[in-house]
């Protein structure tokens, strides 16, 4: 009985482990690429942000003063009276029963 000769393994098929220098330089290169990408993203203009508008609604109503001095009825009677004058000169507005 004869034994089949064993084939010697070729160098190409055997897994070669990278040397330590290659690992170090590869890591540095990868870091540099990622760092550059990250920096670029940060410096690039971002998408417009949504603005939240905070609005304070102040409902103004009245400021009052008690005036004890006598006044006068202001609305004239009779036919229509029309005039244009400065606001300061206008007769005061009066509310009364009618």
């Amino acid at each position: 009985m004869t034994e089949a000769p064993t084939r010697p393994q070729t160098g190409a098929r055997r897994a070669r482990r990278p040397g330590p220098a290659a690992v170090i330089w590869g890591s540095i290169a990868l870091f540099a690429v990622l760092f550059a990408l990250f920096t670029y993203q940060l410096s690039a203009p971002s998408q417009p942000r949504q603005h939240v508008l905070v609005r304070k609604v102040v409902k103004r109503r009245v400021v009052t003063t008690v005036v004890p001095t006598p006044g006068e009825s202001t609305v004239t009677s009779g036919p229509a009276v029309s005039s244009t004058q400065s606001s300061a000169a206008a007769t005061p507005v009066t509310t009364s029963a009618s």
Binding site: V62, T64, V67, V75, S77, A80, V93, A97, S98
Partner: protein
């Protein structure tokens, strides 16, 4: 800054239109005032209870349940119903027969009122008015799609409770193109315009017993109205004093302990409703009615009592400083 000032008589009262400068290509203020006067004249023609050919008189005379009505009449009916709803039935637009029975069957424009002080001495015991248990106003509705007012024949309607306020509001709707303006329909007033926010109007409240200035309001927008016993007051056939503000529960003039009430509101209709409701409610009810929007009441004694925002003195609010220093 100039303003156009137009005064004339309409709706049994004095009307005043005070219109500032036009903005954004609106016609001159004088032209707007004239248009406002024409609108109010048409309003009066359509809604007067004293004109037999008015839309309102035709509605009241119509024996059908569904009555065709103009857009203006439908809006006035709607405003009257809103006033009734808002006041819980105190401002009741269906008291036409009752008011005529007291002697107010024709216009009292230009007529001098009876002396209020004397009327108060002879008036019955004071008590707040109440809504009518019958609440006839609840049986009235407006059908805008078909352009009709719907109500059982015989239920009469009167715009008196909200008519002048509605006129003021409707004229104000036509004055958006002006810096600031006042529409004063017999003391029921509407104020508006962006310039009024910077330069508010001073509105004097007339004291119903003395005719003097009882209070000064500073208003930049909204409505203000006054109801009082001093103007439309007369002696009835029996010699008793009567006036036009009726207690819906009895159909008789209401003597509530108040002779006047002024109310503020977002609109003149709202202010008019609140002022009438306040006067009819008596002092205690008036304080509640006017608490939110503000107003003042005048007691039978002549005492003026500001209510709600008017009762509080003016305040200056400083911004609160937070721990981080930000002002809010």
């Amino acid at each position: 800054m100039s303003e156009h000032d137009l005064t004339f008589d309409a709706m049994g009262s004095h009307v005043r239109l005070l219109i500032g400068e036009p903005t954004g290509g609106a016609p001159p203020a004088a032209e707007a005032a004239e248009r406002g006067r024409e609108f109010i004249a048409g309003f009066d023609r359509e809604l007067s209870r004293f004109k037999p050919d008015s839309g309102l008189s035709r509605l009241n005379a119509d024996e059908r349940e569904r009555v065709p009505a103009s857009e203006l009449l439908r809006r006035a009916v709607g405003a009257g119903l809103e006033a009734a709803e808002r006041s819980g039935g105190l401002v009741d637009p269906t008291l036409v027969r009752e008011i005529e029975a007291t002697g107010y069957a024709s216009s009292r424009a230009g007529m001098r009122g009876a002396p209020l002080a004397e009327a108060l001495e002879q008036a019955p015991q004071r008590r707040p008015a109440s809504p009518s248990p019958e609440a006839r106003w609840r049986r009235i509705s407006v059908d805008d799609q078909r352009g009709e007012v719907v109500r059982p024949p015989g239920v009469l309607f009167d715009t008196g409770g909200a008519g002048k306020g509605l006129a003021a509001d409707m004229v104000a709707e036509r004055l958006h193109g002006y810096g600031r303006f006042v529409v004063d329909c017999g003391g029921d007033i509407r104020i508006g315009g962006s310039a009024a926010l910077v330069h508010p109007y001073e509105v004097y409240v007339e004291h119903p017993l003395t005719g003097e200035r009882a209070f000064v309001l500073r208003l930049s927008r909204g409505g203000v109205a006054t109801s009082g016993l001093n103007v439309r007051i007369w002696r009835d056939e029996d010699g008793r004093y009567a006036h036009h503000l009726l207690d819906p529960a009895t159909g008789e003039p209401a003597w509530t302990g108040l002779v006047g009430a002024t109310a503020l509101g977002d609109t003149a209709v709202e202010a008019e409703t609140l002022s009438k409701a306040a006067l009819l409610s008596g002092p205690e009810g008036a304080r509640e009615t006017l608490a939110e929007q503000g107003g003042l009441i005048v007691h039978d004694s002549g005492r003026v009592e500001p209510i709600g925002p008017l009762a509080r003195p003016p305040r200056i609010r400083l911004p609160k400083l937070e721990a981080n220093g930000a002002a809010t």
